[in-house]
Assembly symmetry: C2
Homo-oligomer: 347 residues x 2
Amino acid sequence: MDPLSAYKELQGSIKETTIIQSKRLDDFLLDLIPERFDRAKTTIFKSALIAYEGFQHTASFKYRAAYNAARKSQADHLIAASSGNFGQALAYAAKIRGKKCTIVMPETSAQVKIQAVRNHGAQVVLIDTDRVSRADALASLCQKISTDHDNKPAVFSPYDHADIIEGNSTLGIEIASLVPTPDLVIAPVGGGGLLSGICLGLESAIKQAMSNNLDLAIRVIGAEPQLANDAARSLAAGHLIANEKEPRTIADGARTISLGKLNFEILQARSIEILEITEEQIAEATFLLFDLCNLKCEPTGALSLAALIQMLRNGKDLYTRPCLVVSGANVDSNVYARLINQPIVSE
Amino acid sequence: MDPLSAYKELQGSIKETTIIQSKRLDDFLLDLIPERFDRAKTTIFKSALIAYEGFQHTASFKYRAAYNAARKSQADHLIAASSGNFGQALAYAAKIRGKKCTIVMPETSAQVKIQAVRNHGAQVVLIDTDRVSRADALASLCQKISTDHDNKPAVFSPYDHADIIEGNSTLGIEIASLVPTPDLVIAPVGGGGLLSGICLGLESAIKQAMSNNLDLAIRVIGAEPQLANDAARSLAAGHLIANEKEPRTIADGARTISLGKLNFEILQARSIEILEITEEQIAEATFLLFDLCNLKCEPTGALSLAALIQMLRNGKDLYTRPCLVVSGANVDSNVYARLINQPIVSE
């Protein structure tokens, strides 16, 4: 994996992340810091930077991964199993790169998500997940395409693949280039593709900065729903642990059975800490991003703010300039309306 | 008024507008163009550019005006009557410029809006608008401050003042500098401060471009709630016409009794066309900005998209690259939740 060269290759094809700062959010966060830090508060905490991927193509960071995979693949047909952001992202990336694309989705997927993939010109194969696993469906689809067209398609995991991680690493490079540099990056964890990509991107950028005699220190922390805490458990145990079934968290981007193998290795080698976030904290953070920052954010994207709030309330590990990765904006309007229809928390 | 010099002076103190393009919005708009344009559709319409002021300080374009007024004023106490975005903007601008600020608000104003002004360190004077007019309240407040502190405060209309219009003109300059340049700008109209400012800003920028042998042609159109159509009626009649009472449109930024005098003169001299938008169209456009562009927008800010939709449906005056000014993001969460809780329109 070569984050710096992927970053160069993707310029012009992906949208740069949108950096948002909000005085109202900063005031809110400052108030969370416990009393005993009172006099030092503002010297400890300066301002939170939000790296917002809701304006990315297909409205999530997944397009970085999908485009990079589509760009590097020799195959002219790309396939994946995804009911969410990766399916849309790969469909659109394939279209832009002039390739065919087929996405395997559970037949229970929301009609609007199926249609979004089809709108990008991809084929959708619906499966009954009670009767056939996604892996089996992908294998037989792959077989069928190879036989019919005498042309082996490329199968992509949404997170457990070097080109996917490398694509996501471009966000780490963008974050490292902010001035002044953040001292902490918090990102959501599902399969671990985003978090491991950010680690590699930051490291490449830091290495390059060191060769220019710049010394950057940026810590990385993951934020995972408590209901889907396989990453926290896996990293604590030192081996991959899977959830028994798909977790029912509102953060649908984190409803993965386990970390990917590659992602686990990357995170374990760096002793990345994972904070566990309750459903209530996810809902609160989604609302706060709407109310204080005017950002539309899917629940998964709010995990990073929820984690920072948890850290500040606990009054430990205070950072000057935390960067929160808000990973996407694909949320059903009725779910979102329910999340924001709360009394105003602040002001 | 000198838009170019105000633009230079305000750099670093205001946030540049956020330009958003959305493929899903463009696809939606393209579908609206009537059949008879079918073969030419994509050569006529390229892409809509959204100039989003929701990430501006105090979350609306009003901060441009307020900061410019605070910067230029000799007084050390600024006062205004405003229950909305201008009050917050002036309070914050005064704080940044080290001045006192008092905002006159109806006692029926939402508690959250009163608190937002107070949070910026300004004083709030609540009045019973059935018993005392805003003008009288401002006059007696001005008198009281002058007497008590031997120091005459400066009173600002939210729109009818040269420094206010000049502040807003900086948005016109930013829009004119986009590459490629838009051929149409649509902005909401209440008192006319934004629309007249944009006209002057664009003209200054175009004049400067001409001296560099660049020929820009940018048409400007205003978008006004049908329930508050005093600007359309005034410009048609050739003289200022006021609404009988404060109009009850959901677009609360356009609930003005009439255009300002200065604003009317500027718009009349340029024969600016005003499109009238129904409440249903405002609600639809607010939802579409959420659904297709992931933008949180107050109903007033959605007037510009509603106007473009109206133009495309009517199949006349097609533009290649319209710029929609989405003027702010201050909307109560319960109002917004109601607006977006609709079946998905598109995809």
